[in-house]
């Protein structure tokens, strides 16, 4: 259900995005950092759904808040001549890996559980025979 919604959103977004006007080159750096922040939020959302502690308010505020904050930090970094956006990338990508690890472990656990159950059933059937 959730994955169908995500895939549907991606497809519709790609179709509309292809026909959107281009932004000017000087702002593309800001958009890139906002994309990284939003990507992190989406992975976080999926991970928290799997852990069953998904909170809509936290998710939506994180999605927009992180994107805007990272844009502001990038702007500030450019004014101060410090590459602050590198710090934002490190944090967001690090968290992305964390969330991916959570998602991966959830499905691995599910898979091993299933296999163990099947083995138990087989073993029971063997003893019956």
């Amino acid at each position: 259900m959730i994955f169908i919604a995500i895939i549907l959103g991606c497809i519709v977004g790609a179709l509309i995005g292809v026909n959107m006007p281009m932004i000017s080159y000087s702002y593309s750096g800001y958009l890139a950092i906002a994309i990284i922040a939003a990507l992190d939020s989406v992975f976080g959302g999926i991970a928290s759904t799997l852990k069953k502690n998904f909170d809509l308010k936290i998710f939506v505020s994180g999605f927009f808040g992180n994107a805007i904050l990272s844009i502001l930090l990038t702007y500030l970094g450019q004014k101060l001549n410090v590459d602050i956006y590198l710090a934002a990338i490190v944090v967001f990508v690090g968290r992305m890996f964390n969330n991916l690890a959570i998602i991966r472990r959830y499905y691995l656990d599910k898979w091993t559980e299933k296999r163990q159950k099947n083995k138990k059933v087989e073993a029971k059937e063997m003893t019956k025979k």
């Binding site: 959730i2 959103g9 977004g13 509309i16 932004i23 080159y25 958009l31 939003a38 989406v42």
Partner: protein, 236 residues
């Protein structure tokens, strides 16, 4: 919190995200196809792109400012007969210099590289800058008053140059097919270009396309740059 709501929110977020990614991808692919290895090269490329954007913006501003100047000049000379004469003179000079869009009957010459290259020397089968110069010379000789090649107005400082494999006019690249439009006496211009042994005949010899048509009411754009001088003075 039901599952449906979660699914819808995540879907909407992914939707926004993919739009942003698509826009970013398109912007980056239009900016440059290759990313260089070193940081300094990337920085320089960044600078060039930003400067280009700035140039475009400045050029747009210049155009607006010129329009405003024109308006102010007109207002200033409305009630004054002597300045009206001056204004008239100014306008005529601007027309002669190529600083205004002009309109009139004339001809259009169409030149294109040969479509199927089958000659021993492929150099014969492309339009060279010399060919364009010949056509322009012929047009000027026949009394053309305003000439434009692929949107580049020819003025007194214009040069048609060959830069390796590209042709530059007024410092801007132009490429085949060429549309050369000229305002002047239609019969004279047409006759000069269609006579036997004319420059178009020579261009056509190896399979290149060269056509001339009479066109009524051509509009020729003004010169995009500015004409300045630095070294010459008036000799009294």
């Amino acid at each position: 919190m039901n599952k449906k709501q979660i699914a819808i929110t995540l879907g909407v977020m992914c939707f926004l995200l993919t739009i942003a990614i698509c826009v970013q991808l398109r912007t980056m692919s239009s900016a440059s196809s290759t990313v260089s290895q070193t940081l300094s090269d990337n920085g320089l490329r960044d600078e060039v792109l930003k400067m280009k954007e700035k140039y475009d913006n400045a050029y747009r501003e210049l155009e607006n400012a010129q329009k405003e100047l024109e308006k102010i000049r007109q207002e200033a000379t409305q009630n004054d007969s002597t300045s009206e004469a001056k204004e008239q003179e100014l306008r005529e000079n601007n027309i002669l210099l190529g600083n205004t869009d002009v309109k009139g009957d004339g001809v259009e010459v169409y030149l294109e590289d040969a479509k199927n290259a089958n000659s021993i020397n492929p150099s014969y089968q492309i339009i060279h800058f010399g060919d364009i110069q010949d056509v322009v010379n012929e047009l000027k000789n026949a009394g053309a008053e305003a000439i434009e090649i692929n949107g580049q107005r020819l003025v007194n400082t214009s040069a048609i140059t060959c830069e390796g494999n590209i042709i530059k006019i007024n410092g801007e690249r132009v490429g085949s097919p060429f549309h050369i439009r000229a305002i002047g006496s239609q019969s004279l211009l047409y006759g000069a270009l269609t006579r036997a042994g004319s420059c178009l005949d020579i261009i056509r010899e190896y399979g290149n396309t060269a056509e001339v048509t009479r066109v009524d009411d051509i509009t020729i754009q003004k010169y995009a740059g500015s004409i300045t001088y630095k070294y010459m003075k008036e000799d009294k």
